[in-house]
Each structure stands twice: as structure tokens, then as C-alpha cells.
Amino acid sequence: MDARIGIRNTKSILFKSFIIFLAFVVTLPLIIVLLYIIKQGVMQVNWHFLTHVPAPEGEKGGGIANALVGSLLIVGMSSLVAIPVGILAGIYLSENPGTKLAYYSGLCVDILQGVPSIVMGIVVYFWIVKPFGFSAISGSIALAIMMLPIVIRSTEQTLLLLPPSLKEAALSLGVPYHRVILKVIVPCGFAGILSGIILSIARIIGETAPLLFTALGSNYLTTNVTGAMESLPHLIFTYATSPYDDQHDLAWGASFILLMFVLILNIVTKLITRKWKIQL
């Protein structure tokens, strides 16, 4: 009897060590990967790098100003479209959970979340690029569609967590419905909604595939949103696969900048959700 317990305890301890080993053995190399990218990229970044466009092939120097401006513009335009639509749709889904429209829209949100980004690129190509040509606008529309599910779900989930008595109290005071939603419900769930928005921006800022057929890319610094425009992920893709070492250096620098954007946005989301104790 005693021996059996010994064996079972040993098994348990062995299993625990095995689990801990597996869990940490995979995390360590991944941290090393992150540090490697940071190390390669940080050497490239300086003022010149941030304010100049890439040098012609084979020449030294140059920077990623065109991609930086392009990424910010494209992501900014996507947010302008996706945030209002997403929040309003999210409000509808949380306010009318039983309706047919809510059921089918909810289903469509799940479908949108599962659509591969490259497929989104193809579709927006036929919707906008084919009739109007490559443009930053078409890129932002593709990215906006990818932002939508995240914004909608986080809005819906945050609002569902609010106590119903809040809304009931406001309504019983005779406040009209739209004011209850906009002045009571949304401000109460603000932190959750905001963190969903920031998270969705972090997700799409690194998306490359939909931009291949929409915003394309450009070697010039441009703010013309109806023309082709460079972006950080697209620049990394083109320069990573080019044969020139100088272009690889630019890509490392761009990777570092993009990584910092993504990490900072994720940390901000974490801080918001922690401060307001909201679970997404």
C-alpha cells in the first residue's frame, strides 16, 4: 500500500516537472527571438532613419519615413471607419440579444473574425482597387473590416457586464433612450470599449497580406490617400525578401519600430483593463 502511494506521488512529481519543463522550454527561445529583433533593429534607429525615405537600391543610408507616415495614415483612416460602426453595432448586439438581426450579425462577426486576411485583400481589391486603382483608402478599408469584429465583441462584452439597474435607473428618471446609452451606458463601459479599440489597432497595424493588393507600397513620402502608399509591414516584406544588405537593415529597423508600436499598444490595453478591473 505504502509503495503504491510512493509510486503515485513520484508520478505526480515527474508529471509536474515535465509540464514546467515544456512550458518554459518554449518560452525562453521565443524571448530570445524578441531580443534578437530588438537588437538588430535598435542599431538602425536614429533621427535620419525616421525622417528620410529609403535610399535607392544598393546605396547606403535612407530611412522609413514613407512607411511610418503611411502606416499611421492608413491605420488612422481604418480607425475612423471601424470605431463608430463597431461601437454602434456592439451596442445593438448587447441591447437586443434575442432578435433575429442580432443573431445573424453575431454570426457574421464570428465569420469576419475567421476570414483569412489575404482573402480580405482579394475582396477589397475587387470592391475598390479595380474600379479606382491602388490607394491608401482601399488599404484602410480592408484593415477597418478586420478591426470591426474585435471592436464589436469588446463593446458587446463590456456592456453586457454592466449592471442592468444602471440603465433602469436612468430610464425611470425619464431620460430618452439614446441619452441613456450615450451618456450613461457607454461612459460606464468606456474603459472596456477603449481597450478593445486599442487592441484592434495593435492587431491590424502589423497586417501585411491585405495591403499587398490594396495600398501596395511606394518609395515616396506621400500623404495623398487616393494613391499607393507604403506601410511598415509592407516595407518589411519587400525589403526582407530583397537581395541587398542595406535594405535588410532598413527592414530590421522597421521591424523594431513596428514591434514597439504593437508592444506599447498591448501594454496600454493591459493597464486600462487592470485599472478598471474589466475582463475582456
Binding site: S105, V115, V119, I152, I236, H248
Partner: protein
């Protein structure tokens, strides 16, 4: 303020109320229309290929745009091979992380550290993983390939799978952790009270209880891996020819549905070529959406119980 004016005010408020309610409905309907639009666009644009190539398109082994021959088989195989290999590599690691964070060490600085690191790893854009792997992982794989006597390309199905695994581990681990934490504690306490060890509780209480959820997690990770484009495009090697031996298929260069679209969409110069590529997108759309929906349904059913 006289009585009439007050009535006017509330009348305009009521108008606003209707406008607002309609706006909410329109915004939700937009989501529906978007998905219908995506679906219709894909069908319409791939119709020439569906009509002229028929169902045989799916198992046609030759992809030769020059001679206008299109078969999707090489890409189906490439996509399935990379995704399933990535899944198999990732499962032990993601389950280990999930069991560690969910059962052994749910609180404390070490689990916080592990959890935050995993989240950071999940946030890195796939193009950056692809870029890193191209310069660091590919030379390593090349050495390995010389050792096992296959052509040392470095890029190919195997390399792409490794990076795909890295990308799905954090996702599956986070999902698994929250599932394991949802196991009701009376169940576990009951088992402990009967004298079960930690290992026995995990094996005979936690794992059976979370089985369907963990299965859904695998489906969702698979959905991710199937549609993943950029890292795979950089690492897969881009050849549409099928190798003859399994060793070559696995270690040699290949192509996936997503990578061939990324590479060839811009240079598709005639109608059937473009249409055949879009049909690949249509197939990819169907497969990922169905896998995702099944996974999501199982998860919601599970969390509601």
C-alpha cells in the same frame, strides 16, 4: 417655459430616439451585408474558373499558368501539411503552458511573467516572425537538412510549420488556461478528498472535463494556421511543383493556398489565371470559416454550461 415648448422638446427627443435606434440597426446590418458581399464577390470572381475547370480543379496536380493549366492539389497539400505539422508541434507546449497556468501556478509572479510573455509573443506581427526566421532559422534548418541527407534549401514546409507553431502556441495556451480555470473546484476537491494525487486529478478530472473545450481550441488554432499568410509566404519557398518523395515534400520548398495568392495575384495576367487564384481564396474562406464557427460554437456551449 410654457407647456407647449416642453412638449416640443420631448417630441424632438423622441425623434432622436428613433433615429438612434435605426442607426444601431443599420450598423449591425452593415456587418451582415459585409459578409454576404465578401461571399458573393468571391463566388462571382471565381465563377469562370469554377465553370471551366469544374470540380477536378481541386485534385489537379499541375499548376502551369503559362499553358493555362490549373490544379489546386499542390496548395491544398501544402496548406494541410504546414497547418497540421504546426498543430502537432504546438499541442504539447500549449497544453503544458495551459496546465501550468491553470492548475499548478494560477497566481504569483512567475505565472504573471509567463502569462505576459506569452501575450507579447502572440502580439508580434507574422511578417516579423517570417523575417526573423528567414535570416536566423533558415540557416539552422539548412544544416539539419544536410545532416539528414535532403537538399539543403532551408526554406520549405518544415520551416514554415515551425514558425506557424510559434504563432499558434500563445493562442492555444491562453484559451486552454481559461478553460482549465473554469473547472468547478468541488470536482477537484472531491478527487483530492478521495486521495488522488495532482497528476491523477489532472488526468481523470481536469482533462476529461475540458476535453471538448480543448478540442475547440485545436480547431481555432487550426483555423489560424490555415489562413496565415505572410510568414509562410516568406518561408515556404514558393514552388508549385510536387516533389516525389515524402522527405522532399516535407523539407523541400512548397506553397500554400495563402502564399500562392500573395505571390501570384499581382502577376495574374489573364482572366482564367486570376479566377483560379480567387477560387483558391474561396476554398480557403470556406474551410477557415467553417472550422472557426464549429470551434466557436463548442466554446460558447461549453462556457454556458
Amino acid at each position: 417655459m410654457d407647456k407647449n415648448k416642453r412638449l416640443d422638446l420631448s417630441y424632438s427627443q423622441m425623434k432622436w430616439e428613433t433615429v438612434f435606434k435605426r442607426l444601431l440597426i443599420v450598423m449591425s446590418a452593415i456587418i451582415l451585408l459585409l459578409v454576404v458581399g465578401v461571399f458573393i464577390t468571391l463566388i462571382v470572381e471565381s465563377w469562370p474558373s469554377i465553370k471551366s475547370l469544374g470540380i477536378g480543379y481541386l485534385w489537379g496536380k499541375v499548376w502551369d499558368p503559362v499553358n493555362n493549366i490549373y490544379g489546386a492539389y499542390p496548395f491544398l497539400i501544402g496548406t494541410l501539411l504546414t497547418s497540421f505539422t504546426a498543430l502537432i508541434i504546438s499541442i504539447p507546449f500549449s497544453y503544458a503552458i495551459a496546465i501550468y497556468l491553470g492548475e499548478y501556478n494560477p497566481k504569483g509572479w512567475l505565472s504573471d511573467l509567463l502569462k505576459n510573455t506569452i501575450e507579447l509573443i502572440a502580439a508580434v506581427p507574422s511578417i516579423i516572425y517570417g523575417f526573423w526566421a528567414l535570416f536566423v532559422l533558415v540557416p539552422v534548418v539548412r544544416q539539419l537538412e544536410t545532416k539528414i541527407h535532403v537538399a539543403p534549401y532551408g526554406v520549405g514546409v518544415f520551416t514554415a510549420s515551425l514558425v506557424l507553431a510559434v504563432m499558434i502556441i500563445p493562442y492555444a495556451a491562453a484559451l486552454g488556461t481559461s478553460l482549465i480555470r473554469m473547472v468547478p473546484s468541488p470536482l477537484k476537491e472531491g478527487a483530492y478528498a478521495l486521495g488522488a494525487t495532482r497528476f491523477e486529478v489532472i488526468r481523470s478530472v481536469i482533462l476529461p472535463y475540458t476535453r471538448s473545450g480543448l478540442f475547440a481550441g485545436i480547431l481555432l488554432s487550426l483555423g489560424r494556421a490555415l489562413g496565415e499568410t505572410m510568414a509562410v509566404t516568406v518561408l515556404i519557398g514558393n514552388t508549385s511543383a510536387i516533389a516525389h518523395t515524402f522527405k522532399d515534400i516535407f523539407f523541400g520548398p512548397g506553397n500554400t493556398m495563402a502564399s500562392v495568392i500573395a505571390n501570384e495575384f499581382a502577376e495574374a495576367d489573364h482572366a482564367l489565371y486570376l479566377s483560379a487564384l480567387i477560387e483558391l481564396g474561396l476554398v480557403l474562406f470556406f474551410v477557415t470559416v467553417i472550422i472557426n464557427l464549429i470551434g466557436k460554437r463548442i466554446i460558447t456551449k461549453y462556457t454556458n454550461n
